[in-house]
């Protein structure tokens, strides 16, 4: 609460800087950017139509086989306003709190994949525990082999904040480097199918009781500026 004026001041200064940069950008650069965005917009509209059709088909099939309908998630855009000054946690603060109906355990994503989970909520800000933080354990699924494990913090290489461990994998799992890891949907906190990252290597753990794999996160946690908070 005490730091809100300073955070506001920082935002105003950065917006002045952004506006000044926009003013001095040449017209041809802006037109090129506009054309590129229009093309991208058309592509995304077509993809959106296809996905809507698939979603309707999925709903119809789920009804046919008697499965419960999935509830749609609402998303809210939030800005990253501060990071954890302590080096032994991986967390950051966003500018939405209970005033925006943010609740604890709400999943946080961006366009590249899973970012983390809301750990605590204040009136105007919330603390997010990022993937790889000891407060954020995630049930994960390897897309190619359908093997399931749990994403835990990587203690072997904490200097690279974008590496985590996929642990408790079955010892007969045939996981290869390059396989994709997504959320499994177990635990009912994260929706199924959000991309987490890519397998880097696999090795046996605890005298061969299970396998563990190093996973390179799809999201660069250290360079986050904006995130989406999912709300049920």
């Amino acid at each position: 609460m005490l730091f809100i004026p300073l955070l506001g001041l920082q935002k105003s200064i950065s917006s002045i800087f952004v506006k000044t940069t926009e003013q001095i950008t040449p017209r041809h650069v802006l037109f090129n950017e506009l054309n590129r965005l229009q093309e991208e917009n058309q592509m995304l509209r077509i993809q959106n139509q296809q996905l809507n059709e698939l979603s309707r088909e999925n709903e119809r099939l789920r009804t046919l086989i008697g499965l419960q309908q999935r509830l749609p998630w609402k998303v809210r855009l939030a800005e990253v306003v501060a990071r954890d000054p302590a080096n032994w946690w991986k967390s950051f603060t966003i500018n939405l709190g209970s005033n925006a109906n943010i609740q604890t355990n709400a999943p946080v994503i961006n366009q590249d994949g899973l970012v983390g989970v809301v750990f605590s909520v204040g009136p105007f800000q919330s603390q997010v525990a990022a993937v790889g933080d000891p407060n954020c354990y995630i049930s994960a699924l390897v897309v190619e082999t359908r093997d399931q494990g749990i994403i835990v913090p990587s203690t072997s290489t904490p200097i690279d904040g974008n590496l985590v461990e996929l642990s408790y994998l079955p010892r007969n799992a045939s996981i290869q480097p390059g396989h994709n890891v997504i959320t499994s949907g177990l635990g009912n906190i994260f929706p199924k199918g959000i991309k987490i990252g890519v397998i880097l290597d696999v090795q046996p753990a605890e005298f061969g009781l299970y396998l563990k794999a190093r996973v390179k996160l799809a999201v660069d946690i250290s360079k986050l500026e904006e995130v989406w908070v999912l709300q049920k």
Binding site: L2, A86, W88, T155
Partner: protein, 184 residues
């Protein structure tokens, strides 16, 4: 008056330091860790202020830092208080006015504060991410604090010179050399 200025300037510097540590990202990108210079601000406070003021500053700094962090609330206050009170107890025995003394003091404070915080949190569930890289971080923080502490001394001394009354110059009068006149 001088102590009030010192207390206020240390309090404001600590407040700004916590804010900058939470919002400035380039030190983290450059060094691969976020340096924490609050222990050396407490070292400066411990030399010039009373134990009660040190306690108040340590608690406030710790709370502010923990408000941005997943640390158990208030845990960062303990290392700062311990370092501050030890320094206050022994400050007359330490050569804090020399640059070398300041560098050594800064190194120990910057190294000890994260070590103490981690030791306090080992019993906490979930435990923080601790490995041999944590030792490297503590060492790096110690080096940075050691290099910054002489600058902190210079900055605060300059601030105090600007706002406090000038120190009274010592008189050349010596009572033992006084020539007394009159009847004896």
């Amino acid at each position: 008056m001088k102590n009030n200025i010192q207390f206020t300037s240390i309090l404001l510097t600590g407040f700004l330091t916590v804010f900058l540590e939470a919002t400035l990202d380039w030190p983290r990108q450059f060094l691969r860790f976020q340096p924490d210079i609050l222990p050396i601000i407490i070292i400066y406070a411990a030399i010039y202020l009373s134990p009660l003021s040190i306690l108040a500053l340590s608690i406030l700094f710790g709370w502010w830092l923990d408000s941005f962090s997943l640390n158990p609330f208030g845990i960062s206050a303990f290392p700062l208080t311990i370092i501050g009170l030890i320094m206050n107890r022994f400050h007359e025995l330490i050569l804090y006015e020399t640059t070398t003394g300041q560098i050594v003091l800064g190194f120990f404070a910057g190294f000890l504060a994260p070590v103490l915080a981690i030791i306090l949190m080992l019993g906490h569930e979930p435990a923080p991410i601790v490995s041999h890289y944590t030792f490297l971080y503590c060492l790096g923080n110690g080096i940075i604090c050691g290099l910054v502490l002489p600058g902190i001394f210079k900055l605060f001394n300059l601030l105090i010179k600007c706002f406090a009354y000038p120190e009274a110059t010592s008189s050349s009068f010596r009572p033992d050399r006084e020539i007394k006149r009159g009847k004896y």
